[in-house]
């Protein structure tokens, strides 16, 4: 009786210690149980393919025949991209032009629009909707719409130019070696200017009004306020907007594919389209993998400040 009693009292702490241990293990495992679906999807369908592409970029392989038929070429595919292939070099330069344009033009227009439309009147809300609307369209549709706008014979752009007497400017926009890329880029501006506008509108809300009032009392001009209050106050937003512009500038694919298909000739290819052509049209999967990783490496490096900003609390 007493023995049983004492055994029971001795067993209880042991049982609760075991339970505590189990609880501790569970507490340690629990976060990973919640993370498991996301982590496994992310690892299997994003990280793993990325690594496999990196591996393939050191081989010559057509992407169709069995993997065992790949041939190791070392850095050959990268050398080819930078030193031997004129199209990939042209594509890289086009990416640089595109990115420079994307960093400057939509950003400046978006910033001006945000400052001009900051107050919430009905007209301003309507204008915001108008400027942002193209951003929600599928880029394939945007490409087809502007392909039609630029049509040399019946397109709206040339009709307008002829109507105002600028017949000399009317031409085959997308079939011209000099104009195809700028014309496609204008379409990009049309479809993307809403993003920086929205981000800057959000950024403006965090600048205290009192700063402007105090500056006005001190007799500061509008330009002074913009230069010394608005621009520095939006520093955080600048980081986001500019990083996204560069990241997207190197990822560009849809518009080029639908509007010029890399032409005329191969003059408007960017790395994204050239990679697609190499991999899925010319069956140079190894070379395509190297081109894909060139894009990825550039974008990941540029994204460091962006990711750092996003991960800060």
């Amino acid at each position: 009786m007493t023995l049983a009693d004492s055994r029971a009292t001795r067993a209880r702490p042991r049982a609760s210690a075991a339970r505590q241990r189990r609880q501790r293990v569970l507490a340690a495992v629990r976060p990973w149980l919640f993370l498991a679906p996301a982590l496994s999807l992310y690892l299997v369908f994003l990280v793993l393919p990325m690594l496999f592409t990196l591996y393939m970029s050191f081989f010559s392989w057509d992407g169709l025949s069995p993997l065992s038929e790949r041939v190791f070429v070392g850095l050959g595919n990268y050398v080819r991209a930078f030193a031997e292939d004129d199209v990939s070099r042209r594509a890289f330069v086009n990416n640089l032009y595109w990115t420079a344009g994307a960093v400057i033009i939509p950003t400046v227009i978006g910033l001006l629009l945000a400052v001009a439309l900051n107050s919430l009147t009905a007209v301003n809300r309507l204008l915001r909707t108008i400027y942002y609307a193209p951003a929600v369209l599928p880029l394939v549709a945007v490409g087809l719409i502007w392909g039609w706008m630029y049509n040399p014979n019946f397109g709206a752009v040339n009709l307008f130019l002829r109507w105002v007497g600028l017949d000399g400017l009317a031409g085959g926009w997308l079939s011209s070696h000099t104009m195809a890329l700028p014309a496609t880029f204008f379409t990009y501006v049309w479809s993307h200017v809403g993003f920086p506008m929205i981000l800057y509108l959000a950024g403006l809300q965090s600048i205290p009004r009192e700063l402007y009032e105090a500056a006005r009392i001190d007799g500061a001009s509008r330009w002074h306020c913009f230069r010394h209050i608005t621009l520095p106050g939006l520093m955080e937003t600048h980081v986001i907007v500019l990083s996204l512009a560069v990241i997207n500038g190197f990822k560009v694919f849809d518009l080029i594919y639908t509007m010029t298909y890399g032409g005329p000739g191969r003059s408007t290819h960017v790395l994204g389209t050239w990679m697609y052509f190499q991999t899925f049209q010319y069956y140079e999967a190894g070379y395509g993998a190297a081109l894909a990783w060139i894009i990825a490496a550039i974008v990941l490096v540029v994204a460091v400040p962006y990711i750092r900003r996003m991960s800060r609390d």
Binding site: P31, L41, Y42, A133, I198, I247, Y257, Y276, L300, M310
Partner: protein
């Protein structure tokens, strides 16, 4: 004297700004006007009178012709199916992952979060060829199911980022009180966290539905069967077959963008606030 000069300059400045805004708005609206004026008339009318003239007769049949010739019913069904499966599933998985990242203390939580954030910058191109091989060997090559795993994986980083940010704003007392009442962690997640997260979930659902509807490159690579085409792929196919039938083509384009335009016009409040707030963090 000074103030009068200033106010005159002010007025001139304000006028210049208004002019700029209006001219830009006209340019920005013009493509919409042009596709509408192209899509609602006959090809002959458009060619002889030009896009900017008023249509001689409204050719409604362009829309039904485009719908039938372009197989749009198939593409719409496929894209809708993708949205209905992918969006709720993706949001659930993202919210599940965001909960421990926001509310549990464990080693590696920051590293996991940053690991996910890196995905925001990964270009789709760097996964395409392996995905194609994987889907074939999984036996779902060329079907809609092949699109769901990569769409989920590429959607997660942004959604986890937004949901983690939102969960962190919810008071810890809520969770502790539920624990005291004997609720399990799963119970806390499903009965407390998720119901409280409806606003950001709604925003993310809209953004994700649009992104799924619009996605082009992954579908271009993974789908070649006509029966599995999504709207952008189908639209591209339609363009290839009718590239010089401008009125028919623009009718098809209009059909494909009407759903996203309607979603945007009616739900833009959530949509824009969500986009801005998400990056503000």
């Amino acid at each position: 004297m000074d103030s009068i000069v200033a106010s005159a300059a002010d007025r001139r400045f304000a006028l210049a700004v208004k002019l700029f805004l209006v001219v830009l708005a006209v340019i920005w609206l013009m493509p919409f006007v042009v596709i509408l004026l192209t899509a609602i008339r006959s090809q002959g009318d458009m060619i002889s009178n030009g896009v900017f003239s008023w249509p001689q007769a409204i050719a409604w049949q362009n829309f039904s012709n485009a719908w039938d010739a372009g197989n749009f019913s198939v593409y719409f069904r496929n894209s809708l199916f993708l949205i209905l499966v992918k969006v709720p599933l993706g949001l659930l998985i993202a919210a599940l992952a965001a909960y421990p990242l926001a509310k549990m203390q464990f080693r590696g939580s920051d590293a996991v979060f940053i690991f996910f954030l890196v995905g925001l910058a990964v270009p789709v191109q760097v996964t395409l060829q392996p995905l194609l091989v994987m889907m074939k060997s999984l036996g779902i090559g060329n079907t809609l199911w092949a699109l769901i795993p990569p769409y989920l994986a590429f959607g997660l980083p942004f959604q986890i980022f937004v949901m983690r940010g939102f969960f962190r704003l919810l008071p810890n007392e809520l969770i502790e009180a539920a624990r005291v009442d004997g609720a399990s962690e799963t119970g806390i997640f499903f009965r407390i966290m998720l119901p409280l997260s409806l606003p950001p979930l709604a925003t993310l659902a809209i953004i994700d539905a649009l992104a799924t509807w619009n996605e082009f490159l992954i579908a271009l690579v993974l789908i070649s069967a006509n029966a599995s085409r999504t709207v952008p792929i189908g639209l591209m196919q339609f363009q290839g077959q009718h590239s010089s039938q401008y009125t028919l083509l623009m009718a098809g384009v209009l059909i494909s963008i009407i759903p996203v335009l309607l979603i945007f016009l009616f739900l833009q409040r959530y949509f824009i606030a969500g986009l801005a707030g998400s990056v503000k963090g």
